[in-house]
């Protein structure tokens, strides 16, 4: 369960001030996947950072059931230490996320297996190819079995095959109903996240200009709605 209430945030002050969030509110429950589409600078990353607790907003509040322990973050940067092995990284992050000591090694093995990285577990991160490094980053995000996943443009730099794999994985992870996870996915490319979404939002200049269940709409429809919502409207 994740809820945001009246989130407002600005960067800087005075003339150079940038309004990153301008009154964003929503609630998500298990099994929901919110895809947030918006152009660069719309405030998507800021919103995710506020949800993750990285930034304290000027106004408004966020509630995540389970607190920071329940959040997994997948962003542009992997948060992995290059000179540690994949397994060492996972064990470190598992410790920080409060995974009980006895569970850490088995859990790491489990996640590595699921991502098909079992044989690379003891390689240092610097030696991995980009695609594998990406997978390692996902492993790190999943190591503590988070009930909320925040994804900031996760498909960036992935080729079609890797992107499809990731979509499939996310679909699995999302689960369903009460046992499912909450996913919040931010991207500027409608095609990438549409199929996964149960709910869709368009963000522009820090505001949700559209927020509704996907209700079976296909990528083309959503893309059209997006073009209208984001390209239209008055500036200022």
């Amino acid at each position: 369960m994740l809820s945001a209430e009246g989130l407002r945030h600005v960067f800087g002050e005075g003339r150079g001030q940038v309004v990153a969030l301008d009154g964003v509110s929503f609630t998500l429950t298990s099994g929901q996947t919110l895809a947030i589409f918006g152009p660069n600078g719309a405030g998507k990353t800021t919103l995710l950072k506020v949800l993750a607790g990285l930034i304290r907003p000027r106004a408004g509040s966020v509630r995540v059931a389970g607190g920071r322990r329940a959040i997994g973050w997948i962003g542009h940067q992997s948060h992995l230490y290059e000179h540690l092995t994949v397994r060492e990284n996972l064990l470190f992050w598992a410790t920080l996320y409060g995974v009980p000591a006895a569970r850490r090694a088995p859990r790491a093995a489990e996640v590595l297996g699921r991502l098909g990285m079992g044989d690379r577990a003891d390689q240092p991160v610097w030696s991995l190819s980009r695609g594998l490094a990406q997978r390692a980053a996902i492993a790190k995000a999943l190591i503590h079995d988070p009930s909320v996943l925040l994804l900031d443009e996760p498909f960036t730099g992935l080729d079609l095959a890797a992107a499809a794999e990731l979509r499939a994985l996310l679909g699995e992870l999302r689960g369903g109903g009460a046992a499912g996870r909450v996913l919040v996915l931010a991207t500027h490319n409608v095609d990438e996240g549409v199929e996964l979404a149960t709910d869709v939002a368009f963000q522009r200049r820090g505001r949700f200009v559209h927020f509704a269940p996907r209700a079976g709409r296909g990528p083309a429809e959503i893309a059209e709605a997006y073009r209208r919502a984001v390209a239209g409207g008055t500036d200022g």
Binding site: F11, G12, E13, G14, R15, G16, Q17
Partner: protein, 226 residues
Amino acid sequence: MSLAHKGRWITLVGLVCLAGVYVRALAFTPVERLQGPAQKIFYLHVPAALWTEAAMILVGLAGIFYLFLKDPRLDRFAAASAEVGTVFATIVLTTGPIWGKPIWGTWWTWDARLTSTLFLFFLYVGYLLVRGAVRDPRLRARYAAVLGICGLCLVPFIHLSVFLFRTLHPQPIIVKPSAPSLPGSMLATWLFSLAAFTLLYVGFVTQRYALSLARDAQQGEHADHA
């Protein structure tokens, strides 16, 4: 009357008082027996040193309150106090040698006041550099508060270290210009000077604060129109 205006008036009164102090010091206060006319710089030197330290303490206190209250006015005040403190420190560090040369024969001496003020000067410089190196105003205020608080806590250690250090290196001539047992007329001049410096501190800080306020407001206006 606007804040800047008030500040200017206070500073003016302070400067007039300071001039008065000088007239008094030069014409009406007796010449000190041991040190001669050069001792008169002491009327300028000591109050400036006291306010250098007081300004740092105020920067630290403003920092503590800022971290709890997050009021940008506190940060503006801290910045103003730090700049004024730096100016006063410079006054101390320049008048000290000017005084020291005729009395001790050297330009610099590691006496308690000069050494402490030198420390404070470095603290101020570091503080202002950090302020200059951070663009985001909130982050800047937070970092400045942290550094200010650390500076505040360092002040007693500065005194302690200087005291301990000096007991090992006694001054060649024992001069205690800060002894409270000053003859009446000297004490009066000194107190008058302290009052003048207090006015100067308040006046300068008010003006500097007003300048910050004006700058922030101006940027705010533009943001509204954007």
